[in-house]
């Protein structure tokens, strides 16, 4: 297929064959990162702006490395609260940056839907690097690439996503992405952290981790954030940990060759026990490596493709 999409706003919009193309492209890019000279001239003369309205080191760095390995010029534009307090709107900020003619704007924002708004007002391609509790498509794609590498396929696998589904953009993107690729997705967490009607996204809903991870090929543990709630969603981290943490005992319910994923940063001892986090099932660092490859693929495809040498 030929890539035609201008923006990557969410996994919600992507078709299975587009996902396949991104993953295949990413696979071919992985090799570049292992070379002595980790750079190809594909995006020479192109400009990628990382426009981040929310602090992020890992995702921003990953996009920056990805762009640099493709020889694009990258500019990091981190909009602190100061610019917002001066009264500049998102649209004005974006138009200012647009005036410098970037090719691609990679953006993160605490407000769900902010990349949609940007895409309506600027001519550059927009990549959503995380918006509110909505989506984080590059994270889902790197998760899919990691699983594909581990299992050699996606179709027919069982994925369990455990934790705060309500507030997780990673969960949403992964649900959209994996279900489109034929993966059976289950979610589990206390009912207070499972959004309504989520079964309409094509997932199985469980309130007990044990049920969700039974026979699972992949378990994805989400970071639990105490500060999000004021004791109204679950009583204490202690109790959460008791019922929802992934420890060695619970892990036995899953398939023997289960893969454990975590979008990071992990709370050791809370959603995941140290033994599991550091154990042989964990691919957390592969996820980071694949993050660069997937982001290279996205930048490359949105920039219009071209030679890879």
């Amino acid at each position: 297929m030929i890539w035609q999409r201008k923006h990557i706003l969410g996994m919600r919009d992507l078709e299975a064959e587009e996902i396949n193309l991104i993953l295949e492209t990413a696979e071919s890019f992985k090799e570049i990162s292992t070379r002595t000279i980790k750079k190809v001239p594909t995006m020479r003369g192109k400009t990628v702006v990382n426009l981040f309205f929310e602090p992020s080191t890992r995702t921003r760095t990953s996009f920056e490395i990805a762009a640099k390995r493709l020889s694009a010029d990258t500019i990091n534009f981190t909009v602190s609260a100061s610019s917002v307090s001066k009264g500049e709107t998102l649209i004005d900020t974006a138009r200012n940056i647009e005036a410098m003619n970037p090719d691609i704007i990679v953006t993160r924002h605490s407000a769900g839907g902010a990349p949609y708004l940007l895409s309506k007002y600027v001519n550059s391609s927009i990549i959503n690097a995380g918006d509110g509790a909505h989506e984080h498509p590059s994270q889902a794609l790197l998760d899919m690439l990691t699983v594909k590498e581990q299992k050699g396929k996606l179709k027919g696998l069982k994925l369990a996503i455990i934790g705060d589904i309500s507030h997780s953009r990673v969960a949403r993107s992964n649900i959209f992405g994996f279900t489109k690729m034929g993966v059976e997705v289950r979610v589990a967490g206390p009912a207070t952290l499972i959004p309504v009607d989520i079964e309409k996204m094509g997932v199985g809903v469980f309130y007990r981790i044990e049920q969700a991870i039974e026979e699972a090929d992949i378990i994805m543990m989400l970071r639990i954030q105490m500060e999000r709630q004021k004791g109204q969603l679950f009583p204490t981290l202690r109790e959460y940990s008791r019922f929802y943490s992934l420890d060695l005992k619970r892990l036995k319910l899953a398939k023997e060759d289960v893969t454990i994923m975590h979008p990071g940063p992990i709370n050791r001892g809370i959603e995941i026990s140290p033994e599991v986090a550091d154990g042989p099932y964990s691919v957390i660092l592969n996820q980071v490596t694949n993050g660069v490859a997937v982001r290279m693929a996205l930048l490359y495809l949105l920039a219009g493709g071209g030679d890879l040498d």
Binding site: G112, D131, V196
Partner: protein
């Protein structure tokens, strides 16, 4: 009223009159004289007035002639937010939409919680307004929900109801006292039913769309809980409650049940709540952001059913102008609100096409029903009544183009909708203020 060139005496002839108040439906001619409806006679029973009589003969054959439409829930934004709307522009939008009377909510700056603000609004309407403007006063001082506004004085100054619209009165005891106190001054109380604890930080309806967009949800129960509370308080106090902008199946059910028991409760629904569902919100269009939010398909069906069986008495727009400054923002930062005066009638007529309501029922919900609730001497074509009349062309199809709106604001989710049926004339107190879509400057 602005001084306008208008015939002092004219006769609308050949139209089909629908006047639910007088249960009149048929071909009648209406003679207007000195701002009043002088005579209503079967078409053909009286000859056309000769030119020398000074009576203009206006041919409205093929059109529908109804009492001047009333929108009992409008935000005119003046005083305080004149960049969004003024009494002049808002009333102009009303005239364009076929409305001869509108009621304006008190959430201005300053809030309409004192007679001086009421007088200011009435004075502005008198000198620069295009239609009749009836202010609604605040329930509580500053709409803060803490202590009662000077409701008696507000009534004397001219308010026709009280409401803390947009700010639900969370304190149940204050709501109880407001109902009791309003009874003394014969003012209906209009609550915005929302339990603020339940809605929390919610931005859109809680349901599948909030789940996939990651936007925090407002559960339907946030409305139903308060409707149930306010019905209980209406029963306790024996006073009249009018529930604003009903959006959920739960609320419809509670109101239906209360009416069956004889509780003095009435209700309204907005065109956006009976025309759109939460589905419209999924791409973060801030013009779909409104409170109460656009709900599920089941809620929409329940609202239509409520309109159909009379549980919901009134159609009102909740016309809420917002400028681009408030709407061209991230969804969570954008203000709530949809403007409605210029699309309301057409969207309401769609209920007729869809078999939900008869034409006469739609007209009743836009005329005599709000008039009765507010005890306005309007919404009728009785001889001797103020000559407030709307003429509707049911066949006219038109494309919604917000750039052509008379309102100062453009925040509508109905952009590019093709609608059928439109007001072609608005008459206020015997003056033609809109004719063929053109405001009569």
């Amino acid at each position: 009223m602005l001084i306008r060139k208008a015939a002092l005496k004219f006769r609308l002839y050949g139209g089909k009159v629908i006047d639910p108040h007088n249960q009149l439906e048929g071909n009648f001619d209406i003679l207007v004289e000195n701002g009043k409806i002088a005579r209503v006679t079967p078409t053909g029973s009286t000859p056309k007035a000769p030119p020398e009589s000074g009576v203009e003969n206006i041919d409205v054959s093929g059109k529908i002639v109804v009492p001047g439409l009333i929108d009992m829930h409008v935000h005119l934004r003046e005083p305080g937010f004149e960049y969004k709307e003024t009494i002049q522009t808002g009333s102009r939008a009303a005239a364009a939409g076929g409305f001869s009377s509108i009621c304006c909510m008190p959430n201005t700056n300053p809030v309409n919680d004192s007679s001086s603000v009421t007088e200011y609004i009435l004075n502005k309407a008198e000198t620069g307004g295009w239609v009749n403007v009836f202010p609604i006063g605040a329930i509580s001082k500053g709409l803060r929900g803490e202590s009662l506004a000077e409701i008696g004085e507000l009534k004397e100054a001219g308010v026709v109801a009280i409401s803390d619209d947009g700010n639900p009165v969370m304190n149940s005891n204050l709501m109880r006292r407001a109902l009791e106190y309003a009874k003394v001054f014969d003012l209906p109380v209009i609550p915005h039913c929302e339990d603020k604890d339940l809605s929390g930080e919610g931005l859109i309806n809680e349901g599948f769309i909030s789940t996939i967009t990651g936007l925090p949800g407002i559960p339907a129960a946030a409305e139903a809980v308060m409707v149930a509370r306010d019905i209980a308080l209406a029963e306790l106090t024996g006073w009249r409650l009018h529930i604003a902008h009903v959006s959920t199946a739960g609320a419809v059910r509670f109101i239906r049940e209360a009416k069956a028991r004889g509780v003095a409760v009435t209700a309204e629904a907005t065109p956006h709540h009976f025309s759109l569902t939460e589905e419209a919100v999924k791409d973060y269009d801030t013009n779909t952001k409104v409170n109460p939010p656009l709900r599920s398909g089941k809620d929409l069906d329940a609202v239509k059913e409520g309109l159909n069986d009379g549980t919901i008495d009134v159609i009102a727009s909740d016309h809420a102008p917002q400028s681009s400054v408030e709407k061209e923002l991230e969804f969570e930062s954008a203000e709530n609100g949809i403007i409605g005066l210029e699309t309301e009638l057409s969207l309401s007529l769609k209920l007729v096409a869809d078999g939900i309501l008869s034409l006469s029922d739609v007209i009743a919900k836009l005329t005599i029903n709000p008039a009765r609730i507010l005890r306005l001497p309007k919404g009728t074509l009785s001889e001797g009544a103020d000559a407030d009349i709307s003429v509707i062309d049911l066949e006219q199809s038109w494309l919604v183009d917000p750039s052509k709106f008379n309102s100062k604001s453009r925040n509508t989710p109905f952009n590019h909708w093709e609608l059928k049926g439109r007001a072609v004339m608005t008459i206020v107190g015997g003056k033609i203020v809109m004719r063929d879509g053109v405001i009569q400057e």
